[in-house]
Structures are given as structure tokens and as C-alpha cells.
Symmetry: C2
Subunit: 283 residues, 2 copies
DNA sequence: CTGAAAGCGCTAACAT
DNA sequence: ATGTTAGCGCTTTCAG
């Protein structure tokens, strides 16, 4: 019978909205867009709806003016650790990414080993000056990339060098690297805190006529599709985001079914993907 | 008073969900992701929620299994013309993009003049063989890019050459161009139906050691951010998507306020953005 | 101008 | 089994 039920009435009667939020630090980053996209596809199969928002104290844990609570959510999938701002939402939360909160079900992504290997490979391929490009918002003590970089550099007796770009955007990184190189000369190895920064840096370097990888090697982080389409393709630390999404959703569904189960937690390891920069160099 | 109203109950009582859908042919394309993102930001200001879906006869005009009707929508923002599959949704619809349907409020984007100029500029810069890279799904009679390419080539007495890539993905384009070049040799000008195809083509060409822009000039379409970060940056036809989004939402809000107003329609013109490929060549 | 009551469209519990 | 009814939490109307 060609009749379509009313979702709002259904939600009112059952107390279930079949709506889930995906929250990340910033939907402007390509990586989070890819994650949101993936969740969209996965949840669709289970007839759930996904809305994306940003994590931010100003917005009470959601881009929506009234915060999370008023959105009518069955649950929350959240990328990024420790947020005190979530007191407003009382339903199930699954945390994912590096250094998840102990309070929630968690899909941890460990970037530390790959970060170390990234810096090591830069050094091993002959780089003298290896710098880390990051944003001021980084929690240094917790950040795997920062710790990996700093640790390896210390062990090898190399001097650390940090390049701060104001935010995570490509445009900022593009400008930042140019200003930096003009003032301090150019490092020959750059470990960037994410792929958008790496791509912006790539562009900035090329703007100045600096060649990659001959003069500078670049490694990014996250593993977004775009890195593969540059020339040369950018090496990057790939987050296993499909696994991460699938696991996070599995955890949340379990929690939705019966709320009183022990905490679920799993750790996935990111892997360093070296692309043909090295080969190109050796020819 | 720290109390949060229940959306479902509100929706039931008022008959308004404050939820809008953005529908496009495929959320896998970067351009539509940028558009969806933009709508997200705009609608947020007005306290509306946006959900994205795909246009497809299989799915009854929405990725959701039950189709649009069951989603509890106040209105629909839809990119791409003529869809008969939308009979299911009875609320207000605003159409946008090239060749909008006459049935709805419309924000037309005219790609024709820019497409002609793209092909002309390829020819004017000395290209002998200019091909058009497109997908089989293209409605040739309606497509501004196809018509622009074909028109200019005919007028100049040049032979047309079409390269068909199975879908709109970068990966397909990367493979397609390589197969094509191996069999037919390489054109020296390529007008690609969108930027993802252009980026995939760029990658495929570079895989074969073909240099851009020295051996081949590339022009894409849509104006996504990524084109600017390749080296050399890709020229592209930029859709005025911020204007488009703002206007579409304005139209929809008018319609939401009072349904019995005359049809609203506007046309925006895309512009060809030539990037430094030409300068690089001349130096 | 303030307060009570009807009803939005559905689901689930109940009674027949 | 099938049919009936109460109630989900809000808005809006209508009475006081």
C-alpha cells in the first residue's frame, strides 16, 4: 500500500530517532569528510541517518547552536579524544582516533610506530634537516606524531625544528612554508601533521621552485585519496579508516541493543605508506 | 532553564522537521561534497539540518531505501536536471546546476560559454589534437561541455576525438587515459568533463612520463580546491557554487514561507579559470 | 493575559 | 489472532 509513515511520529512513539551524529574537530579537513562519507554509506545499510558536526567548546559539542542534546540523536560517533563538552549528551558515545577517552567505547588508532618510521625513513634517505610541520593546537604530550618525531630526532642526536602553521588548512600551510623558507632556509625533510598540510606545503614549495623529492622529501599523515594524485605522489601515514568506521559502528550498535555491556575497546595501527618518491630519486 | 526540547515531538506538532535534503548524482565526487559542505554551513545559520543523498532511479530519488518521502523533509535542494523519480516527494524542490527542470524553482549554471572558451584556448595555444574526456552517462544533446567542445571543433574544421571513461572517478580516469594513449597515441589538449577526471588523467599521464603542460594541456570543470594544489595547477571551469548555494537556499526559504509564489529562476555563468600552465610554457 | 485541553501520527500494551 | 486505546512531548487553539 503506497503509504509512507511519518518519521517524527515514529520517533515520538518509540523513543528512537534512528539518527546518529558523527563529530570531528573540523569538517573542513578532507580526512574527516572521507570518514563522514564512509559512515554515511555504512549506516545507510542499517537504515540509520547520519549528521555531521564539529567538536568545539563554543558550540557545546556540536555545530548546532543548541548543542548535541537538542538534535534528537540515538548515539554519537566521535573522532578525537577527551572532550568535557559532551556532558550534554546522555546516550551512547563511541570514541575513535588517537588517544581515545577511557570513558567511552573506543577504537584507538595508533600513529606512533608509523610516525617514528616516517622520520627514520626521512633521515635514512639522507636528509640533514628534518622538520615537523604542525599546528599550535597540537597537544604535544599526547600527540603520536609529535612524540614520534621528537623521539627519533633525540635518539639520533639531531636537532629538532618545528614549523607552525596557524590551522589545518592547505592555504595556510602553503603560505607558512614560504615564509619559513625565506627566513630560515629550507629543510630537506618535512614530516607534516596531516595530508592537507602536506599538500599545502607541496604547493608552497613548488611556488618557490623547490623540487620534490630532489630538494625536499615530504611525508603526510591520514592517507587521503588526494595524496596519491600529486606528482610525485606523497608518502603518508595511512589511517585504517574503513576498519575504524566499521568497528566503531559495530560497537555503537552493540551499545544501542543493550546498554549494560562492558566497555568495548580495540586498537588499530596506522601504517606508513612510502610512495614512489624514493624510486624517482634513485633513477 | 536547562531544558532541551524534543525534536520529534516538535516536528509532530508543527508539521515541520527543519530538515532539508541535498541530492546529487553522486556523493563520491569532490564537487558535490564541497556543495554539501557549503549547504551544511549555510543552513546551520538558519537552524536547519541537512542530509545528503544520491539521485538514482534504483533508490527512488534518494540513497535511503524507502526513498525521499519517508525521510521527513521540509524541502529538497537538488543538483542536476530532469528526474522523473521525484514523484514521491510532494514538498518544495529547488533545482540547481546545468539545465534545470522547468517544474521547479531553479538556479541554472551555464557552462556553455566557458566550455567553448576552454576548447578555444586549447586550440589557440597551439594544440593540434584536442580531445574531450567524458563518461558514457553524458546526455550529449544537453551537455554544455559536450556541445561547447563539439561546436568549436566543427567551426574550426578540427576532427573531434572522444575519450570515454566508465565513471566519474579519479581511478577510472587514470586507467582510461593510459589505455587510450597506448592505443591511439596522445592528444596534446584534453578537455575533461570534470575535475576528478582531470586529476585522474593528470596522474595517468604522469605515470607514463608524459609532461604537463609541455606535451599535453589539461582543462577540467567545476573548480574544486584540489586543482589548485597540483603542479602545475589545473585550469578549470569554475562553477560559482557559493552563489549557487546561497541563491538556492533563498529560493527554498521563500517557498517554505508561502508556497503560492511564482516560479523563481536565475542563471549563473561559470567562468573559465586559466592557471599558470600557459605562463610556464612560455618561459 | 494566563492556563487547560485537543491533537499531531504513530507504536505498544491491552482487551476482546 | 485481531481490534481498540493510551500516550510519546510538544504546539496551538480555545476557554477562563
Amino acid at each position: 500500500m503506497g503509504y509512507t509513515p511519518n518519521r517524527a511520529a515514529q520517533a515520538l512513539a518509540t523513543g528512537q530517532t534512528r539518527r546518529i551524529a558523527f563529530l570531528s574537530p573540523s569538517m573542513g579537513l578532507r580526512f574527516f569528510q572521507e570518514v563522514a562519507n564512509r559512515f554515511h554509506q555504512i549506516l545507510l545499510e542499517d537504515r540509520y541517518e547520519i549528521v555531521s558536526g564539529e567538536l568545539d567548546r563554543r558550540t557545546m559539542g556540536s555545530t548546532h547552536p543548541e548543542g548535541l542534546a537538542r538534535m534528537g540523536l540515538d548515539g554519537v560517533l566521535m573522532y578525537g579524544g577527551g572532550l568535557g563538552s559532551f556532558v550534554s549528551f546522555k546516550g551512547p558515545i563511541v570514541n575513535m582516533g588517537p588517544h581515545c577517552s577511557e570513558k567511552y567505547d573506543a577504537v584507538n588508532v595508533d600513529l606512533y610506530p608509523a610516525s617514528r618510521r616516517a622520520v627514520e625513513s626521512l633521515l635514512d634517505s639522507g636528509a640533514k634537516r628534518v622538520a615537523h610541520v604542525l599546528t599550535p593546537s597540537t597537544q604535544k604530550e599526547l600527540d603520536d606524531r609529535y612524540r614520534g618525531y621528537t623521539g627519533v630526532m633525540r635518539e639520533r642526536g639531531k636537532e629538532t625544528e618545528y614549523i607552525l602553521t596557524p590551522d589545518w588548512s592547505r592555504a595556510s600551510a602553503r603560505q607558512t612554508i614560504q615564509d619559513y623558507v625565506k627566513e630560515h632556509g629550507c629543510p630537506d625533510g618535512l614530516f607534516c601533521a596531516n595530508d592537507d598540510i602536506a599538500i599545502g606545503t607541496y604547493r608552497g614549495l613548488r611556488d618557490m621552485g623547490i623540487s620534490i623529492p630532489e630538494q625536499v622529501r615530504l611525508i603526510g599523515c591520514d592517507g587521503i585519496e588526494d595524496t596519491e594524485y600529486l606528482d610525485p605522489p606523497l608518502s603518508t601515514i595511512v589511517q585504517p579508516f574503513e576498519d575504524m568506521c566499521a568497528t566503531a559502528w559495530r560497537f555503537l550498535k552493540n551499545r544501542l541493543k543493550k546498554g549494560t555491556i562492558p566497555r568495548q575497546a580495540e586498537t588499530l595501527e596506522a601504517r606508513l605508506m612510502m610512495r614512489e618518491q624514493m624510486e624517482e630519486l634513485s633513477k
